[in-house]
Structures are given as C-alpha cells and as structure tokens.
C-alpha cells in the first residue's frame, strides 16, 4: 500500500489522479506527487525503516509506489563515507562522501529507475524507454531486463564507449541519435505523444521517477543517526536531483524523523561548459537561459534543464550557492577524491568535488559545517576523460636492476 493521494501541478496547483501523467495539461508545469503525510507520520519510525531491506525500498512509505516485489537490483543504501583525508586537504572539519558509485549499474540512476519501472509495471506498461546521457541508459536497460520488460534507450551518438557498451549488453534496443542530449530529449518528448504505451521513465513516468532521488536525503539522514547535515553539495544536470534532495530532508522533518527546524544548505555543482543554472544564480536572475553544452562531464550536459528553475529556487531558499568548474578542474577533482579517499568518480563526481573545493575557497562551505558531497556515478564509465592524465608511473624490463633504477620508493 502506498500513501499517495494524487498528483499536483507545481506551477498552478491543479490536481490529477496518480496515473502516467508528467506535465500539467493546462500550463505544462511539472506534476508533483502528493502524500498523506499525517498517515505516514503515524506509521513510520526509525525501527520500521531499519527492519526493511538494505535498498531504497526501506523508505517505501515515502515513495510513490509500494509493491511487495518491486523492480529491484538492489539500488540504494550506498556507503556514506567519512572523508577525513579529503577534509584535511580542504581545511574542513567534518566531510562525508555519499558514494553512489556503489549502485548496481554504478550511478544514482538505479534509484530513480527502480521506482519508475515499479510504477510503470503497476500501470501496465510493457516497454521501458528513456532519453539518456548514459547513466540512465545503463539503469533502464538493466532494470528492464530484470523486470522482463522490453527496453528502448535513446542516447547522443558521441557518448563515452563504456556507457554504450554497459547499456547494449542488456540486450534491449539502443538508438544513437545524431545530436546532443537536448536533441535526444526533444525527440523523446515528441515520441511520448506518438507512443503512449511506452514508459519513458524521464518523460511520462518522470513524476514518479524523480521521487527516487529523495532516497539520497533519507539515507544520508539515517546514516548520520537520524540527524541532518549542515550543507550538501549536489551536481546539477536537469536540476531534478537537487530539488528532490531538498524535498527529502523536508519530508523527514514533516513525518517526524528529523527534528523540527532542521536546516540543510544545498549548493549546486556544474561544469562551466554547461552551467545555465549556476550562471542564473551568479547573475541573480530568475531566468535559466538554455546553452549549447561543451564539457567532458557529459552526464551533466543538459543545456535546457527542465528543473533548472526549481534547483535555483531550492539553493536560494536553503542559503546555499552554485559553483561552475572547468574541465581541467573536473579532472583534478576526480584525482583528488581518488588519491585521498580511494573513490573513483565519473566526471560528474569530479564536478562535485571541484565545486566543493571552489565553494570552500569562497567561504561558502565552512569548516564548522557537517558537509556531504554527492558522488553519483562510477569512474569506470568515463575513463576516456583520464586518458593522458594518469597511467603507469614507470615501464621497465622485468629485472631488479631496471626496477631499482626506475622506482625510488622507500621500502
């Protein structure tokens, strides 16, 4: 049983039943899932959650669908790692990394897709589809295979090889589109009208899909012993994840799992080659102007972010900020995290870490704060970005002499 009472337009407030709807029929505003929070509050406890599976489904009461057998590969409940060595380099007091590289297909997208396809199957859909920059492609293809659904995944043709292979291997249809992600997204938005029997997870199932990102906030709070962090740094592509992380913390307060008055500052991370939301923040503008992306952080390369305005608003309301970092800084960010904490992030994680570095230097992220940085995808997905930057530190003949000559390590 779920606690959903219906869907509501975030813009004009019109209400709808909990069906396969994603935008308000009237103003095209995004629809948001409404819950009976009083009923949830009466039902949910730290103990009831702890008795659940070690996946996102332990928070099923706060998700838009609750099935006995969800479409599940084990997404979520990923490690929250205390990052003392990185904190020391940055001059921070308490820093944690939410390591979402540990998800089944290596990114946070497993969270949203597990929710989306569970709902899609409940609604009777047999085909799972998506427009993707790669991580979502992996997650949809894998979860569709798990659920016995057909899949059709649309990607920009110039995606990293690893993301193509790690989608194609699941045996669904994979369509490479000659255009950038925004072109792929537009095509899928149009296809949604022509193929209403397909569940495009990030189009017509988006309302449910996006709710899966709340589990990042739920896990962080639970893993901190049902306490809130002071500041969370979140990468921004469409802006959906950041918006939902904020909603997640607010819901925990509302159902009594976090103390009243818990305030979490949220800051956004973008690459300068695609920073429409960071730019609007810096300019003090309410208008997120679309851009043509050019960055190695392809999983964040959304030039026309659908939830950009909400991410902007969420950051402003929470007292956070935005940072935008260059591709060189992204590479440095990936290497810094790997060197200090043993976590290998994809380029989007490099954006997060490099943005954290910048926000610390600007005094936005402070040493007296408990800080969490979201690392949302695995480095093996974007290995091309590091070619030429890292490699063998010595190449030698197989002799002791050659070794002694080439490598001067203390014994």
């Amino acid at each position: 049983m779920d606690f959903v009472t219906g869907l509501r337009c975030r813009e004009c407030g019109r209400t709808y039943p909990a069906e396969a709807l994603h935008v308000c029929d009237f103003c095209f505003g995004p629809l948001e899932v409404d819950y009976d929070y009083e009923a949830i509050a009466a039902h949910i406890t730290p103990e009831s959650i702890a008795a659940g599976p070690r996946t996102i489904w332990r928070y099923a009461d706060l998700l838009p669908v609750n099935e006995r057998a969800p479409v599940d590969l084990g997404a979520g409940f990923t490690p929250l790692v205390r990052a003392d060595r990185l904190a020391a380099e940055l001059g921070l007091g308490e820093l944690w990394i939410k390591d979402d590289t540990a998800n089944p297909t290596g990114s946070f997208k497993d969270r949203v897709v597990s929710v989306a396809l569970t709902k899609a199957r409940q609604l009777g859909f047999k085909v799972a589809a998506c427009a993707s920059t790669g991580n979502l492609a992996n997650a949809v293809a894998a979860h569709a295979a798990r659920a016995g659904m057909s899949s059709i995944v649309f990607i920009p043709y110039d995606l990293e090889t690893a993301k193509i292979v790690t989608t194609a291997v699941y045996g669904g249809q994979l369509v490479a589109v000659q255009g950038n992600y925004d072109d792929v997204n537009r095509l899928c938005a149009e296809l949604t009208s022509e193929r209403p029997t397909w569940a495009f997870v990030n189009v017509n199932i988006r309302t449910y899909y996006a709710e899966g990102s709340k589990t990042l906030a739920f896990e962080i709070a639970e893993q901190l012993g049902w306490d809130a962090p002071d500041h969370v740094v979140v990468p921004v592509a469409s802006g959906s994840q950041l918006t939902k992380v904020k909603k997640g913390f607010q819901e925990l307060v509302r159902v009594g799992l976090l103390p009243e008055g818990s305030q979490v500052r949220i800051s956004g991370a973008q690459a300068t080659g695609c920073s429409p939301v960071a730019t609007a923040f810096a300019e003090g503008s309410d208008h997120v102007r679309p851009v043509k992306p050019s960055t190695i952080a392809k999983s964040l390369a959304i030039g026309n972010p659908a939830d950009g305005w909400y991410a902007l608003k969420a950051v402003r309301e929470s007292g956070g900020s935005f940072a935008a970092v260059t591709d060189d800084e992204v590479i440095e960010g990936i290497r810094l995290l790997a060197r200090t904490e043993g976590i290998f992030a994809e380029t989007a994680g490099g954006v997060t870490i490099a943005s954290l570095v910048k926000l610390v230097s600007e005094g936005v992220v402070r040493p007296d704060e408990r800080v969490v940085a979201l690392v949302t995808g695995h480095g093996l997905k974007t290995i091309e970005a590091l070619v030429g930057h890292v490699g063998p530190t010595a190449t030698i003949l197989p002799t002791l002499e050659a070794f002694d000559e080439a490598v001067q390590l203390q014994p």
């Binding site: 997208k109 997204n185 938005a189 189009v203 988006r206 469409s238 679309p290």
Partner: protein, 91 residues
C-alpha cells in the same frame, strides 16, 4: 505559405485530436497566434500574462529551440515544421 505545427498529446483535444495542423504566418509568434485563431484555447496554454512563452513550453523550429533563434520573432518559411514540446527532465 503553410507551416506544419506539431501538437503534443496534452494539447490535442484543443485541435479536435489532431497531432499536426497546417497554418500560415511570417514568424513563430504569428503561426502560434494563427493556431489559437483556428483552435481557440491555445494562447492561454502557451503564453503567460506578459505574452511570453510559458516557462515549461518549448517551441522548436526545424528541430532548433526558438530560444536560440529570435524567439517568437523568428521568421518561418513555407514547409518548415514547428513543434510544441513540454519540458522534460533529464539524465
């Protein structure tokens, strides 16, 4: 000279269920006004109080977002396709 306008499923009831209509106009704005003339109700769905496109309405001319062109003032030529598309999330 006619321009083809593609209509998303949410707005098709306004056009008698059609996914595509043919209209005349010199600019994107004129074509969209003609759409409202032919099928009243489109204007309030597409435009806000100031006459700008609503935040979550995207309009593409020959597959290019008109926000990258000259917006509603972008000239259109016969045979081009104008698509109305709701904004969607990414990833």
């Amino acid at each position: 000279m006619p321009v083809t306008v593609r209509i998303p499923s949410q707005l098709r009831p306004l056009a008698g269920g059609s996914g595509e209509v043919s209209l005349e106009g010199e600019t994107v704005g004129e074509v969209l006004k003609a759409l409202d003339g032919a099928h009243p109700g489109f204007a309030e769905r597409l435009f806000d109080e100031t006459g700008s496109l609503r935040r979550f309405v995207n309009v593409f001319l020959a597959d290019e977002d008109v926000r990258f062109l000259s917006g509603l003032d972008t000239p259109v030529t016969a045979g081009q396709t104008l698509s109305i598309v709701p904004a969607v999330a990414g990833g």
